[in-house]
């Protein structure tokens, strides 16, 4: 017997030979590390994995992985990915995008890849700024963001990736933070496991153009009170003491944060996270400090019976196997005549 035992791959085996070139201190390094760690934990086959990106700092991602990679054009990565899956559904496809790429120039494609439910993972690195083009405000920048293109502060309301995704009919939405190296791989694994389009919003710090944009809920000193880590079937508790929880405001479809032991609140009053509850998910993605914590982890996961490309290809296969077409039959079908 001469069968080689496949060597166990480590995170390093998922790195390409190219020098990683983001600004020193960029959150993308941490995300890259978490992704490589996830791939190693899952022992994915590099040859069956494709990372597809658009344009932006995040879009450099595929060059740094030892899988197949396609660095495409601005905003269109989901469309390329759809073509890949329609051609070879066996490939494990990851799309890497930023807030400008996915939600501004590529908003249309994100909408449609989510509603079609193509089986792939979309990683949205949200840093609320345009980094590669040197610091203009982005569609997720908060109102009042001062930038080279908005010296007086931005005026337009930002888009929320979570609300957008759920509105588009996404069946998986999760959140994490670049530096949360324990949580991020967990979320990434769940996204990959999900059959259909899974969108993971990763809050990513741009150290140069928007440093500490998320410090208000990611800084160690506040994180426990400003974030809630959702787990399916578990009560939605948070806080340093895990003594805060979420409940519906009496008489309103609105969440509020309450403290156990205050005003007669007990754990029985706290909502239990049901990740298949779309209506609850729309409330959870809208939560913002200081009144409410930012929802982290798998906010929504409700798989459809089948993904888009599976359906398309099943139809083609069924028709082709029941009445396979030949070129000869195609060319001569219908009315023909012979000239002698």
């Amino acid at each position: 017997m001469n069968i080689a035992t496949p060597a166990v791959k480590t995170a390093k085996d998922y790195a390409s030979d190219q020098e990683v070139r983001w600004c020193p201190g960029c959150g993308d390094y941490a995300i890259l590390k978490a992704v490589q760690k996830t791939l190693a934990e899952l022992q994915v086959d590099t040859e069956k994995t494709v990372f597809i990106s658009g344009i932006g700092c995040a879009a450099r991602f595929p060059y740094y992985l030892s899988t197949y990679g396609f660095h495409t054009i601005h905003g269109r990565a989901p469309a390329f990915a759809t073509g890949v899956k329609l051609t070879n559904p066996e490939l494990d496809v990851w799309v890497v995008s930023g807030d400008g790429d996915a939600l501004s120039i590529g908003g249309n494609h994100l909408l449609h890849v989510l509603r079609r439910n193509v089986d792939l993972q979309l990683l949205l690195f949200n840093n609320e700024i345009y980094g590669l083009t040197k610091g203009q405000y982005s569609p997720t920048s908060r109102v009042g963001t001062r930038s080279p293109s908005t010296p007086g502060g931005s005026l337009d309301t930002p888009v929320s990736a979570g609300s957008f995704a759920l509105g588009a009919g996404a069946r998986f939405f999760a959140r994490s933070v670049d530096t949360q190296q324990k949580d991020l791989p967990v979320v990434l694994k769940r996204a990959r496991e999900h059959r259909g389009a899974s969108l993971v919003e990763i809050f990513q710090n741009c150290i140069v153009y928007n440093d500490d944009a998320f410090a208000g809920f990611t800084d160690r000193s506040v994180a426990a009170d400003a974030q809630i880590h959702l787990e399916h079937g578990k009560p939605m508790l948070f806080g340093k003491e895990r003594n805060k929880g979420l409940r519906l405001k009496p008489g309103r479809l609105e969440l509020e944060a309450v403290t156990l032991g205050e005003d007669g609140i007990t754990e029985a009053d706290i909502l239990v996270h049901d990740e298949t509850d779309r209506a609850m998910a729309t409330l959870l993605v809208g939560m913002e400090p200081p009144s409410l914590p930012v929802a982290m982890g798998v906010v929504f996961c409700d798989p459809a019976p089948s993904s888009y490309e599976t359906g398309v290809l099943a139809e083609v296969d069924a028709i082709q196997s029941s009445r396979p077409g030949t070129l000869a039959e195609l060319l001569t079908k219908g009315n023909t005549w012979t000239v002698s």
Partner: protein, 528 residues
């Protein structure tokens, strides 16, 4: 013709031509509607024509009086009565039309029966009425055509089937990604009905997504095809540039229509030649092919897939609204004689990099995801010619630009030498055409040559790269005339490539050239 049709179409009729008027519709009300001050039969405006008056409205109604149809419904069959008369004049068989009516109105057999009755009545009128010499049956002898099996085919069908045959010749899956647009949508409709050939169709959210999905399909090892019309192709431009840079096969079908912008979507034009050959950022060569007729679409589509997959390049296939919707008889080829050009994907990891090239064709290796040991990254950033890694090196960019150019120009060695359709180097004037002007040009040249005029005809299928011998052929002519349904695009290309005194004959009315227009233009030049 009724008064309205007469008003619009009379200018199209040659002097001495035959006019069949539906006398029943010649009344004051219709004169006013058509904008005639008085009866055009009486004001001398029809003196140059031979006139036959037939009360088609009444005769159609008479023929259908027992059909159970209302008067309004019966009058809708008037076109079939007229067609029946025309079939008699030209000695054509009614059966295919009768069969078509039966199947078209299968759910309303009374309508089918009435239309067939009207068709037969019009035909019978021709046979029995003594209309004198003005309305005599024309004897059109059967055209001399090669023996074999024939069928009618529209441009959209021929192009769709050609893409299926091309993908089959390449042994690859056809993935057709498109967004609805006039007049290109019929391709999507036809291919969506060919799932039994394994065709995958994808109606994307927009033109850009359509071309990107097609490129994704090629990246994954299929034949990615997208289709649109000029404005849609404009939107695809950036992605086409990526396919040029990443060197992936891609077929872009452009069913041209009158432009610019929305232009006249239902009117034909061939004004996207510049867009196809030049219309991208950067030095971005690709292959441009043009179909000359509905049936020709089949062969050109196969050629497009062959060149795209063999040379790892986008290919733009130019059709137009006229070709897409027109039909013509086609000698059906034997399926087993169709070109075969099976693609071999790269599998050898030894010395592999994604921009390793075939020294002969300069095509890069096509390694598809799923292949162990060949994992690589590609994209739109310039790549080092010897590794495929990102490179901003000055000399490398020069080298890669040259390689992309030479690869496409080298295809000239792999296409047939340009041949004359009619005439040859001894003639004084050559007409150079491309696309759907083939019909009127070839008829005009045929007529002129029968008169003994020294006129030749060259028709280009390969717009870029041009055939290797084209410059030499052109250089032998005193006069080069290039009829195009645009403001002068191929003529500019020929002048710039070959420094020849080519002259344009241009028409952008949304209508095809008339044979007489081309004949007149040639005569004027030969007499000058």
């Amino acid at each position: 013709m009724n008064p309205a049709a007469l008003k619009v179409d009379l200018p199209e009729l040659k002097s001495g031509g035959l006019l069949i008027l539906d006398s029943g519709s010649f009344n004051e009300r219709n004169f006013t509607k058509a904008g005639y001050q008085q009866d055009p039969r009486e004001d001398g405006s029809l003196d140059d024509y031979r006139i036959v008056e037939v009360d088609m409205s009444q005769m159609t109604q008479d023929a259908l009086k027992d059909s159970g149809l209302t008067k309004k419904e019966a009058l809708r069959c008037k076109n079939m009565w007229a067609l029946g008369l025309v079939y008699w004049m030209f000695g054509r068989e009614r059966k295919p039309t009768q069969d078509w009516l039966t199947s078209k109105f299968a759910k309303r057999p009374e309508i089918a029966t009435a239309n067939i009755a009207a068709l037969n009545a019009g035909h019978a009128f021709g046979e029995t009425a003594e209309m004198g010499e003005d309305l005599a049956a024309f004897s059109i002898p059967a055209a001399k055509i090669a023996p074999g099996l024939y069928r009618n085919i529209t441009g959209a069908e021929a192009l769709s089937w050609g893409l299926v045959a091309g993908a089959s010749g390449a042994d690859l899956k056809l993935v057709f990604c498109s967004y609805p647009i006039t007049p290109a949508s019929s391709l999507l409709h036809t291919l969506a009905g060919l799932k039994n050939h394994g065709v995958v169709t994808f109606q994307a959210e927009d033109e850009i997504a359509a071309v990107c999905a097609a490129i994704g399909a090629s990246y994954a090892g299929g034949v990615g095809v997208t289709s649109s019309s000029g404005p849609g192709v404009a939107l695809k431009t950036e992605a086409i540039g990526l396919a040029i840079s990443a060197e992936l096969p891609l077929v872009i079908v452009n069913s041209q229509r009158a432009g610019p912008s929305t232009g006249m979507p239902t009117k034909t034009e061939q004004s996207d030649l510049y867009q196809s050959v030049f219309g991208r950022n950067g030095d971005s060569p690709l292959v441009v092919l043009a179909a000359r007729s509905p049936a020709d679409c089949f062969d050109v589509a196969i050629e497009a897939v062959r060149l795209a997959t063999k040379y790892m390049t986008p290919v733009i296939l130019l059709s137009d609204g006229y070709i897409a919707n027109a039909a013509e008889p086609w000698a059906v080829p034997e399926a087993e004689t169709l070109p075969r050009f099976p693609v071999t994907f790269e599998t050898n990891a030894e010395g592999f990099h994604p921009f390793k090239r075939d020294p002969e064709t300069l095509a890069r290796a096509w390694a598809v995801p799923g292949t162990p040991g060949l994992e690589h990254r590609i994209g739109g950033i310039e790549k080092a010619s010897d590794s495929g890694n990102i490179s901003y090196d000055a000399e490398n960019h020069q080298r890669m630009t040259n390689l992309r150019r030479d690869k496409v120009l080298g295809i000239a060695k792999d296409i047939p030498a340009q041949a004359f359709e009619q005439g040859g180097s001894d003639d004084r004037l050559v007409l150079v055409g491309w696309g759907s002007t083939y019909g009127p040009i070839s008829r005009a040249v045929d007529n002129l040559r029968q008169e003994g005029l020294p006129v030749a005809h060259l028709h280009l299928r390969h717009i870029w790269p041009l055939a290797e011998n084209l410059g030499e052929l052109l250089s032998g002519f005193e006069q080069i005339l290039v009829p195009e349904m645009n403001d002068g695009q191929l003529v500019t290309l020929l002048r710039s490539e070959f420094l020849v005194p080519a002259e344009g004959l241009n028409k952008v009315t949304g209508k095809p050239f008339k044979i007489a227009e081309i004949e007149a233009a040639v005569r004027a030049r030969l007499e000058a």
